[in-house]
Amino acid sequence: MSKAKENRAPVSQQSHKIEKPADPNSIGANITIEINEKKVSVPLGTTILDACRQNQVHIPTLCHHEDLCIAGVCRVCAVEVEGMRTLQAACAFPITAQMKIKTSTERVRKARRHIIDLLLSEHHGECYACVRNRNCELRNLAAEYGVDGFTFGHREKKMHEIDRSSYSVLRDMDKCVLCRRCVRTCIDLQEVGVLEAIGRGNQTRISTFMDKPLSEVICINCGQCINRCPTGALFTNDPSDDIWRAIDDPTKHVVIQTAPSPRAAICEEFGMEAGTSLTQELNTALRRIGFDKVFDTNYTADLTIMEEGTELLLRLKKALVDKDPDVKLPQFTSCSPGWVKFIEHFYPDCLDYLSTAKSPQQMFGALTKTFYAQEYNIDPKDIVTVAVMPCSAKKFECNRPEMTSSGYKDVDYGLTTRELATMIKEAGIFLPEMPKTGFDDPFGEASGAGLIFGATGGVMEAALRTAYEIVTGREVPFENLNITPCRGFEGIKQASVKLEGCVPDWSFLEGAELKFVVAHGTANARAVMEMFKRGELNDVQFIEIMGCPGGCIGGGGQPIPTSPEIRQKRAEAIYAEDESLPLRKSHENPHVKYLYEKFLPEGPCGHKSHELLHTHYTKRGSFIV
């Protein structure tokens, strides 16, 4: 698989194929080099950049990104290698022989400064009016190298129109530095293939197929390109002005739901280390901003588990008891809108395998404008629903024409973690200082199962906690309910649980092995789909797929930067919070039970829940008109 994957990537941007020693401790596996006259020993094949970083020597980078293969195009990481005529790109140079490296000679400093000056000479943008002004890598480089003027001029006119066609991702190519991180993200990491370098020479630009607007090509709105863009060239379609307007409008009842991942990451926007959950501080901040109600998306995550879990069990029953040959198994999860659009485009024939359950965000919207409006006697037309999401694709999702089962637009605005952080700052609030408060009823209580939706494998784990117990009457046989095979960042995980001692209703499952697959990032999703089409997954019943690497905690609306380490910390924060909660299983959520009793009396997958909580998909195909 890895070979096929590499072939898809532009070869010039693939990682070099230097052999690394299998055993880093064997003789000859390490090599001693000199960095700035200090001897250090590194494993063969280490890049100069990594060697320097391991030894506390800072080297500036721009096109390099930990998640992506090497490009070596910006040249800002230039260093001097003794005996070589030209400067070498530290990020792209694997060490295979002894060498002497100098990282701060006059030539190096001048070259870096020149490169920054050149980038600025092509840049059209004013930092004070730019979404990325707090963490723009170009701006930081300029600061680092003391740029105080435009040696080679500065672009005064806009050259490109901002592409505002997409609900999710906007592009301002006047701020692009052509680092091609977005290209590598979209082609290698996500295998969607929207963005590429177009043209040659000074005409080179990042663009789409035939330079079409983003809404007309096959973009799944995952926003991963945004997360890896060093500048403000790519950004989300920010609805906060509209939200402020709604808040300021006394006739509107503005409610907000917060998804699990933003809470685990928003601390980063306030200068804190990754991995601190600020759930309850966030609740207070949202109330101070002026939201009328603050709800927990985890509540509908629990509901999703009920609906999706029931759907799975029903499909299993149909297959095993009714021997219905048309049952679509395995069932794929449907809560990641990036993934849903991906399968609609690339595997339109497989849409029946998707669970019909809506995502938690959309269930929420539908219930807010029906159940909640009814219970609290509010006219649904006055309700404005906002969803705080780690995701840019959620913006597209809430604008899908079918997402109006309440009779109104179920979710009015999808707001990303980053955008919310800005709103909080705008309101003069320093989030970490906020006192802690809880969520509002009736959607205020949720289980840890709903919470872990945020990390890859979380939906699977939550579903297993519930499904296993429904079928066997016992808790899943994992210590502390932590289903570890679901966890971790391996691209594709496969595991199984044996169902034994089933309760009478589900005795047909006695002894069955429930097999499941978990994948994250659409490149892995594609690999899973190919396995599925080859028939390799016929004995699997349930497949969880998240469109973004790492799951929602790595979503396209999360704080920038992102790296494997940061995503790890966010996941840890989520799992820790789960473990600290008294309620860990979706089906035990009393508010969910109440909802079914009061509002959806036919229970999960009943008629009314189908109307409100389930959806259908569109065969989009991959032809671009």
Partner: protein, 402 residues
């Protein structure tokens, strides 16, 4: 085939001599690959594509590599302005080029040869294909060549699509693989990881064309031509202000003045050696020698007489690089554009000296920090013209002195 091109080659002493097709291949098989490699090393042949890398070193690394497949690529992308020697070799002496490829394949153990022919030379394509067919018929290509069991080699011709940078060897390989012609990071070098990831030797047409003669007459004979560090002959493509433009085979080490006499150039003000990416040499330096150790060139010699405006010439060169840069790396993509703007400012006389100083410094950075040879050599003309013709430039254009 009528192709509208006049034959220009004159007689020479290494390449432009008589050669019996296949004779060097037979000799190579007779003496064995070690001896071929020895002769090539002994000849001190250096690459004729511009970089001047010792050919035998390239071959030895690839010969030593163990791989399922190996490739010989003949680089006929000849895009450097003012270069047309490969055109003449392919049109008039295809036998030595292709025999050179076969011998290279034999020596390093490659079974596949690819001729990368620039799109502008498509008119040769059919004739060359016929030529290869003919070689197959004579068992100079194909299986068990000339009765040598296990010596299989065939040549495929692939056309370029109009991009100067595809002459750069790693860009060429990218292009062969169906990609944008963007140079790769090095290391790894093509000799280890080249076409399709296999060890690949990329050689210029002229380099390969020298091989049959070296095999037939020996490395020492070859080495006796030229200078110590620049052995053998060189094809010079001469154009510009002279009576007899064309391709000349001359020994390395000849001075610029001698060459100008041969081609009939009068009132010469400057000579651009090495094409747009080479350096511009003023009259005062015409004693300099054309050789790797002095004024190196892949073969391009452009002659400018007294009537030419050097800034206009420079403008043309910079325009070329702005268009032909692959656009991948910052120093070259943006740097060349800034230099072009600078030249425009010089032409309009609207510049300050500190601005010029900054541009020169930028030129040095581009030479040092660009990813490939294109960006590393594109400021050469700018720097040398500003250096050597500063009087002309500043006097006529004035400029506000700061």
């Amino acid at each position: 085939m009528e192709i509208g091109i006049e034959k220009t080659a004159r007689r020479g002493f290494v390449l432009f001599t008589d050669y019996a097709q296949g004779s060097a291949i037979k000799k190579a098989i007779e003496v064995g690959r070690e001896n071929v490699l020895f002769e090539v090393r002994d000849s001190k042949l250096k690459g004729r594509g511009g970089a001047g890398f010792p050919t035998s070193t390239k071959w030895m690394i690839t010969a030593a590599a163990t791989a399922e497949k190996k490739y010989i690529v003949c680089n006929a992308d000849e895009g450097e302005p003012g270069t047309f020697k490969d055109r003449v070799l392919l049109l008039e002496y295809p036998s030595i080029v292709f025999d050179g490829m076969v011998i290279a394949g034999y020596t390093i153990g490659a079974e596949y040869g690819i001729l990368y022919l620039r799109a502008e030379y498509t008119y040769m394509y059919t004739a060359l294909l016929d030529y290869l067919d003919n070689m197959r018929k004579n068992n100079l290509l194909g299986k068990d060549i000339q009765g040598k069991a296990g010596f299989n080699f065939d040549i495929e011709i692939r056309l370029g699509s109009g991009a100067y940078v595809c002459g750069e060897e790693t860009a060429l390989i990218e292009s062969l693989e169906g990609q944008r012609g963007e140079p790769r990071n090095r290391p790894p070098y093509p000799v280890n990881t080249g076409y399709m990831g296999f060890p690949t030797v990329v050689n210029n047409v002229e380099t390969l064309a020298s091989i049959p003669h070296i095999v037939l007459k020996g490395g020492e004979w070859f080495r006796n031509h030229g200078t110590d560090k620049s052995t053998g002959s060189k094809l010079f493509s001469v154009s510009g202000d002279c009576d007899r433009p064309g391709v000349y085979e001359l020994p390395w080490g000849i001075s610029i003045r001698e060459l100008l006499d041969i081609v009939g150039a009068q009132n010469t003000k400057a000579v651009q050696v090495g094409g747009a990416s080479g350096v511009c040499i003023p009259k005062s330096q015409f004693h300099r020698k054309l050789a790797y150790e002095d004024a190196a060139t892949g073969g391009s010699i452009m002659v400018f007489n007294e009537s030419r405006d050097m800034l206009k010439v420079l403008h043309n060169f910079m325009d070329f690089f702005v268009e032909e840069s692959c656009g991948q790396c910052t120093p070259c993509r943006v740097g060349n554009e800034r230099l072009l703007e600078g030249v425009e400012k010089l032409i309009n006389g609207n510049f300050t000296f500190s601005f010029i100083r900054n541009l020169k410094e930028l030129g040095y950075t581009m030479q040092a920090a660009s990813k490939c040879g294109l960006g590393q050599s594109s400021p050469n003309a700018f720097l040398s013209i500003l250096e050597n013709f500063s009087d002309e430039i500043y006097q006529s254009k004035g400029g506000s002195h700061v």
